[in-house]
């Protein structure tokens, strides 16, 4: 084998914290050959991002390379001076990040930001920078690059922003691209477009790519080789095909198991011996609990006649005990719909009937005190941002009980503890604040708060989108269990058909404020009728079938990709 382009040997990275020095990365070795795409897969806290920052030498002030070596194209990155590093960054190796909108300077036009890089690395002069920047925008397939050159990040969609970030990273034709969760937070179809673009451009230029992701499915679809990291260490490394066919390390197996596949059931996501496994039992659908009819929401535009119909004549029902999935990409109107059901937004027209009562007629401002309010609760997407940072978990869970349930004193205490037990939150964590809890624990607090008043309908707005797959597996099983115990109905809102399918019997697919397809979840996934549903399904990256613990273990490699 020839000399690899990037050779990380026994890398250790330390962080100085208030409680002393912490090793974020321990003895990690990874190589990337010329033209190769390597994935580093791991959950939060695995040290995968820190490894990549160490390669670029853009660690935070507190971080320090404490041991090992990083050699890139013959240069020892760990020992190189800052000047050499500045020449390497952007010119020879570059990086793209999660959350593309925040990764761009908000008050500088995207064209200028690309020019900055070109000029910095002497690939353009003031005279021809603009022309070259437009060429770079063309290379990342941005339509109408001449006018996009003047755009600011806030004027572009998330996917478009990521293209600009890629344009900045690839402007100087580097040899190595490090992509740190490049598509987290993007819609599945946008994710596919962005990843395909990266693959195409890197293949065209014979570049090497280091893809850092928590999503095994994504890594499977785009990487030649995968390195699995856990708690700062590499636990397994193999060709993509080998890894999926025959994972060695228990952690890899757990991770593989927790990643939803096309055919997995919600219980499959947890190991067989796990007592938290649940299987949703089919129950006869009851009466209509929530009935939406001809719901319309129009947002006024800047000029007259320039209005925006976010929700355009939506009608559906959620029956008692049923779980209904509402699937669509960002901007399809699914969040506007949930806001209207929660009566945070007033609909332009149409009716919302909940439990036989027309709650759509109650002004949104007064709905907080309405008797029906307790029957409707919501679990939000971001477990951190949806909790008051100055409230302990106990206080957060108590809040609805005190406000709407009028529970006080020792009864309140007992109720909160019972709820915590129900969602699997250890009692000693109740007095902690959100920043002292993990993502999964915060999600549990959010769920406990939502079920505190024993609502009839729970609106779940991408409740697991911000969680690691193994935590997602536990939370999804918990939701199945709670539904059965409390007899709730769910309205599950997500952009990920695959996750929705695990929990819901029936699915609606929404596009541009309208329902384009609806039906039983299995049927919709097996034989989608509408081209948009097919597009959504095709965009989801899956780990190849044929892995532990399914019976087809050890099948030929043809199963892969």
């Amino acid at each position: 084998m020839s000399i690899p382009l990037l050779d990380i040997k026994a890398l250790t990275v330390e962080f100085g914290t208030r409680r002393g020095v912490v090793d974020a990365v321990r003895q990690v070795s990874v190589t990337v050959a010329k033209g190769e795409t390597v994935g580093i897969v791991g959950e939060s806290g695995s040290g995968k991002s820190v490894t990549s920052y160490a390669v670029m030498r853009i660690l935070d002030r507190a971080g320090r390379i404490a041991g090992g070596s990083i050699v890139f194209g013959g240069i020892n990155v760990g020992k190189a001076d800052e000047r050499t590093m500045r020449d390497l960054r952007g010119r020879e190796m570059s990086m793209i990040f999660q959350n593309p909108r925040a990764a761009l300077n908000p008050i500088r036009s995207v064209g200028r930001q690309i020019e900055d890089v070109l000029i910095e690395h002497s690939l353009a002069t003031r005279a021809d920078a603009r022309e070259k920047a437009i060429d770079v925008l063309k290379a990342v397939r941005i339509n109408d690059p001449e006018s996009r050159y003047h755009a600011y990040p806030f004027e572009l969609s998330g996917g478009m922003c990521q293209r600009v970030v890629i344009a900045i990273a690839l402007a100087c034709r580097p040899q190595l691209l490090i992509a740190d969760e490049p598509t987290t937070g993007l819609d599945v179809t946008t994710q596919k477009a962005v990843m395909d673009l990266i693959r195409e451009l890197t293949a065209e230029r014979n570049m090497s790519t280091l893809l850092i992701t928590h999503d095994l499915g994504l890594a499977a679809a785009y990487c030649d080789r995968i390195v699995v990291m856990e708690k700062g260490r590499v636990v397994e490394e193999a060709d993509t095909a080998t890894l999926f066919a025959d994972p060695q390390h228990p952690y890899t197996r757990r991770l593989l198991q927790a990643t939803p596949r096309l055919d997995s059931k919600v219980a499959d996501l947890l190991p067989e011996e796990d007592s938290r496994r649940r299987t949703p039992s089919a129950r006869p659908p009851g009466e209509a609990l929530l009935r939406i009819q001809d719901l319309v929401k129009v947002f006024p535009g800047k000029d007259k006649g320039d209005e925006y119909r976010a929700v355009d004549g939506l009608s559906f029902e959620v029956r008692c005990g049923e779980s209904l999935g509402l699937v669509g990409e960002s901007g399809c109107g699914k969040s506007t719909t949930s806001s209207m059901i929660m009566r945070l937004l007033d609909p332009t027209s149409g009716s919302i009937q909940f439990n036989g009562e027309d709650i759509g007629a109650v002004p949104g401002k007064r709905f907080a005190g309405h008797p029906a309010r307790a029957g409707l609760q919501m679990v939000f997407q971001d477990p951190t941002d949806s909790l008051n940072p100055r409230w302990s978990a106990r206080r957060s869970i108590s809040d609805p009980l005190m406000r709407l349930g009028n529970v006080r004193g020792s009864a309140l205490r007992a109720k909160v503890e019972a709820l915590a037990e129900m969602v699997g939150l250890p009692e000693h964590l109740l007095d902690r604040f959100p920043h002292q809890l993990s993502g999964g624990q915060k999600a549990r607090v959010g769920i406990a708060r939502a079920i505190a008043l024993e609502p009839k309908l729970l609106i779940l707005d991408e409740p697991t989108a911000a969680l690691d797959v193994s935590v997602q597996a536990v939370v999804l099983n918990l939701l199945v269990e709670l539904r059965e115990r409390l007899g709730m109905s769910y309205l599950f809102i997500s952009h990920d058909l695959n996750v929705v399918r695990l929990l819901c019997e029936r699915v609606l697919v929404m596009k541009a404020g309208r329902i384009v397809e609806q039906g039983p979840a299995e049927q919709l996934l097996d034989s989608p009728e509408h081209p948009y549903t097919r597009e959504l399904l095709a965009a989801i990256p899956h780990p190849p079938a044929g892995m532990v613990p399914s019976p087809i273990r050890g099948e030929p490699q043809a199963m892969v990709r």
């Binding site: 960054r89 990040f97 990764a103 300077n105 908000p106 008050i107 900055d116 690395h121």
Partner: protein, 343 residues
């Protein structure tokens, strides 16, 4: 292109918004001055005046008429550009304001330039090197700046630089009596003297200006340095700074073109607040340095219920605030493209 008229429209819209504010100020300043304790007629008549002569003066000043009548007379005068006569100095209020306002503006402006020149680099350095000696220095200067009262710093500076070292001229107003004031163009002595080509006078005016300006500047330095440090710290944490570093941009470019331009927005707001606050509230500095500014004028007028002068002061300050806020808004739209999009 499209962006320019949009921003122009925004500016025009902001100008229109100022109109109701001004009307409100005219009404409120009129009512507030009437609510002041004390009778201007009594003051004007002098200590030995009889009841009748006071009454006579009251009639001649129009104070015997009802409030609405007085108000409309006042508004009528305003529309004709008349602010009335000051009863304590006997001068037209407009003349007084046009000589005193530039004095205050010159002092405050110079003080602010001084404090920006010190506070912003200090704040930036402190933000880029948290917990270094420069950060501690920043903290010390900020604390000292706000905790030392201006009259104390003023007197201390006068004692040191005039009395002990003799470097600075006597703290007696805007220009040493040896010099003639330069021909009036802007009302700022330093600038007017420079326009006139009289460098000697300009130097003398500047010499008079330095100590009071530094005194005021030391006080205004604190909020600016604090805000710069905080805003820079926050922006430097941002994802786009990491992107810029990962793209290999030089430290200079990252710090100034990327970080500072984003951090400057809250600093501009603070500057506007500090400026308007310092302009009206630097009475102590004006008193210590016998500076013929607008602050001391207003306080003297207030003490003797000099209605016309107080109203003139309030009105001119309000106008200034409106203009200043407009300037801040316009700067904002120039710096931040996101603002031009809202209507």
């Amino acid at each position: 292109m499209v962006r320019v008229p949009k921003r122009l429209r925004l500016v025009g819209y902001r100008l229109l918004q100022a109109i109701p504010v001004l009307i409100g100020i005219v009404v409120v300043s009129f009512l507030l001055t009437r609510a002041l304790p004390g009778d201007p007629a009594v003051y004007f008549a002098g200590p030995a005046a009889s009841e009748e002569s006071i009454e006579q003066i009251r009639v001649s000043m129009g104070l015997d008429r009802s409030l609405p009548v007085q108000f409309f007379a006042y508004v009528g005068d305003l529309l004709r550009g008349e602010l009335g006569q000051s009863i304590s100095t006997g001068q037209p209020v407009l003349t007084e304001l046009t000589t005193r306002l530039p004095a205050s503006l010159e002092l405050t402006g110079f003080a602010l330039l001084f404090s920006i020149a010190v506070a912003m680099p200090l704040g930036i350095l402190a933000a880029t090197r948290p917990n270094s000696w420069i950060d501690h220095l920043c903290r010390f200067v900020v604390t000292a700046g706000v905790s030392l009262p201006t009259f104390f710093t003023g007197l201390a500076l006068v004692y040191l630089f005039y009395f002990l070292l003799g470097w600075s001229p006597a703290p007696m107003g805007r220009l040493d009596i040896l010099y003639l004031s330069p021909p009036h163009v802007t009302g700022f002595y330093v600038i007017d003297a420079l326009i006139d080509g009289d460098f000697e006078t300009a130097r003398a005016a500047l010499a008079q200006l330095i100590l009071p300006a530094v005194t005021l500047g030391l006080f205004t330095l604190a909020p600016i340095a604090r805000m710069t440090r905080a805003a820079m710290l926050q922006v430097l944490e941002g994802d786009f700074i990491r992107t810029a570093r990962a793209a290999g941009l030089s430290g200079h470019k990252v710090l100034y073109t990327y970080a500072l331009r984003n951090a400057i927005l809250p600093v501009i707001t603070t500057l506007g607040m500090v400026f308007s606050f310092a302009l009206g509230a630097n009475v102590l500095v004006e008193k210590v340095f016998a500076w013929p500014g607008i602050g001391s004028y207003a306080v003297e007028a207030l003490v003797v219920s000099d209605y016309a002068a107080v109203q003139g002061f309030v009105l001119s300050m309000a106008l200034l605030f409106v203009i200043l806020n407009l300037l801040i808004d316009v700067t904002y739209t120039l710096v931040d493209p996101r603002l031009g999009m809202e209507d």
